[in-house]
Subunit: 385 residues, 2 copies
DNA sequence: GCGAATTTAGCAACAGCGTTGCGTAATAGA
DNA sequence: TCTATTACGCAACGCTGTTGCTAAATTCGC
């Protein structure tokens, strides 16, 4: 949640989020763990833990005997205490996942979408899919909201789809408002790749540094996690990484430029030269590294995962050989831990992240447009009426 | 200053920094201005203003009569209340500037450095240059520290120069410690381009969004300002933007890859084809935009400023024609407002920014290594002994 | 067995932040 | 002179994390 003024509630949310991040990362933790990770005083940690226990987000899970002295109480996150639904809106399919507070995917479904679907058709499909998930009343009470991940350009702050590439009926659609009205749940709208990298960051916890999620799926995109938060850019349009020129005299791309990464990669794919396609992508990834100095590179997307190991190996090798001082600059290169669910899961996690993640405090934004839908205390969802 | 724990002093520093940012941007301001910009209550703003006035950072500058009612007190920043010294360490020259709290360059000198200079030689030159600046005792009392901007790779957090490109005697030099011992002042070390973009951001105030400083000066580099803070990357190595491949089959670059932006640009420069060199740079800039979605692009560097208008026009045009939906995605393209001083000024401003800028709160960093040299209250400098 | 040492944990008082309620000062206009 | 209006701060408050100290639970030595 973006806010400008820094009051004491920010402190509470911030430190609480840090404790939850520890809980997500480590399977179990105790007071001293949190003290070491956050730098808070033991007393402050006790207060935070008391609050989180009262809300049911964490619970005691035994004790640890430190040899001598009073045993330490061991805590664990309660994954089932909160849920969020995520949707990955692709060109032909709608993927829905149910994610718990730990960031684990508990349920996943895919349904087809009509060719060149309209906003109304998408909302129908969303309602139908989410309706079946929320039939369980115990779950419904713990549902925090719905996240939508889709292709851009879109306006994250205002929940507006500007022009979804390749879809005719999508110009300046206020999708967040429409979905909130239909679903009667808080809705969060973001670009697919940004949602994806949020999933990886949330699951890795607070130690997750600057990172990118590279996605190859009917186009090439990148989601960025920089400085502890998703980087969306000035107009929520960051990540059009496929449209960076890597070959000045290359073929013309759909975007009008010559030799974009995407079109060069496409040519290799069309020639069924997977190794070359992977090498091309790897060059683009190294370009990113030179520019942004990332700690982690995560690979995802249907077209990439079909040849996952070829791509991973190519990127891994390029990162080691093409970067000077790779001995200390090379990032970890991994395949997405969530596979095909990563976008949908990330969209769901963005809802959880708004409520229980590190709050962001961006100065300079007008305070009037701040949206507030944090369920304080005994939030019950709003799907009952 | 990086901190992990969020206590009430963070609130104070954060809101105080917001008020100072307003004071830097607007020549004069009043309580209602700050209320609108920050979202704080009028009473809270009064408290902050009282603190800043007591510290001498702002002062009353008349009243404004709102037609009816009690006149509002108008305030202004006191530029002379704090100073910082900045150094731009280039391959053959050392540029020193004196910057005031408003971010204005008050004094600027350039002196040659020996070819392939050693750390000791640099420290000598620094001491000599800074000594003459700090002769004025009134100034010395208000000096907050020294910032050093130089080429990498270096380790910003630990003040270590890893390997300065093209300088033989620079491997793992603890420059910050050495300089602090010699100068007896707090020292801040950072990459040249990162310092440069900090200068632009500080001078533009809190409304400065995601931005890049593109620097062409014996190589091509980029400094990034993302999400309200400098982006340094996982190892302080972000910005090696010149070493991104734009021509797969291009000439070999000094870094070993083929067709880096830098080498392609260099070939055009060697052929004295300035328009082509500018177009090549522009392609690189558009690549950045596609990836990061920036709101501002600032051009700088001696080699670029020699043909400033050619470069500016080329980038401006590329940004308008090569980006889809440029009507709302195109950034502002400007030349650095500080000219050749931008790096040195930015290095100085980083010192001011640590003390009076928006504090950053990065979770996950071990709290033990946090450096603290904030001069609380009546800081007097430490150059007296 | 029993007391000392050790480690964990929480209660109570405190300082500092922004917020709220309300009184006061300063001006223009009637 | 009175009233409406605007600016501004004092005082009390709620909330945060911090500090000082006490209590609880355990191991170890005698």
């Amino acid at each position: 949640m973006t806010r400008t003024t820094a009051d004491v509630t920010f402190l509470r949310d911030y430190n609480q989020a840090q404790v939850l991040a520890v809980g997500r990362t480590a399977r179990t933790f105790e007071r001293s763990t949190v003290v070491a990770a956050t730098g808070l005083t033991p007393q402050a940690v006790s207060k935070v833990i008391a609050r989180l226990s009262a809300d049911g987000l964490i619970r005691p899970a035994g004790v640890r005997r430190p040899g001598i002295g009073k045993p330490a109480v061991v805590y664990e996150l309660v994954p089932d205490s909160r849920y969020a639904i995520g949707a990955h809106v692709a060109r032909r399919t709608l993927r829905l996942v149910l994610v718990d507070l730990a960031g684990a995917v508990r349920h996943s479904t895919v349904r087809p979408l009509p060719a060149d679907f309209t906003p109304e058709q998408l909302l129908d499909a969303l309602c139908a899919g989410i309706g079946t998930i929320t039939e369980d009343p115990a779950l419904r009470d713990r549902l925090t909201g719905v996240g939508l991940g889709m292709i851009g350009p879109l306006d994250h702050a205002n929940g507006l789809v500007r022009d979804a590439h390749g879809l005719r009926h999508w110009h300046d659609v206020p999708l967040r408002e429409l979905a909130e009205a239909r679903l009667r749940l808080p809705v969060h709208l973001d670009k697919d790749v940004t949602a994806g990298v949020t999933a990886e960051a949330w699951r890795h916890g607070a130690t997750f540094g600057d990172a990118a999620l590279i996605m190859v799926e009917s186009g090439i995109g990148g989601g960025f996690w920089l400085g502890g938060a998703a980087h969306r850019g000035a107009h929520t349009n960051a990540g059009e990484f496929g449209h960076t020129v890597v070959d000045l005299d290359g073929p013309v791309c759909v975007c009008g430029r010559h030799g974009c990464l995407e079109v060069v990669h496409l040519r290799a794919t069309e020639a069924e030269d997977v190794p070359r396609a992977a090498r091309v992508l790897a060059i683009g990834v190294v370009n990113l590294l030179q520019t942004l100095d990332l700690a982690h590179v995560v690979l995802a997307g249907a077209d990439l995962l079909r040849h996952a190991e070829v791509y991973r190996a190519a990127v891994e090798q390029a990162v080691r050989t093409d970067v000077r001082r790779a001995d200390w600059l090379a990032p970890t290169v991994t395949l997405s831990s969530l596979g095909a669910d990563v976008i949908a899961a990330g969209a769901a996690i963005q809802v959880l992240d708004q409520l229980y993640g590190i709050p962001d405090l961006t100065p300079g934004t007008p305070p009037t447009t701040v949206r507030q839908h944090r369920p304080t205390g005994d939030y019950r969802g709003i799907s009952s009426a």
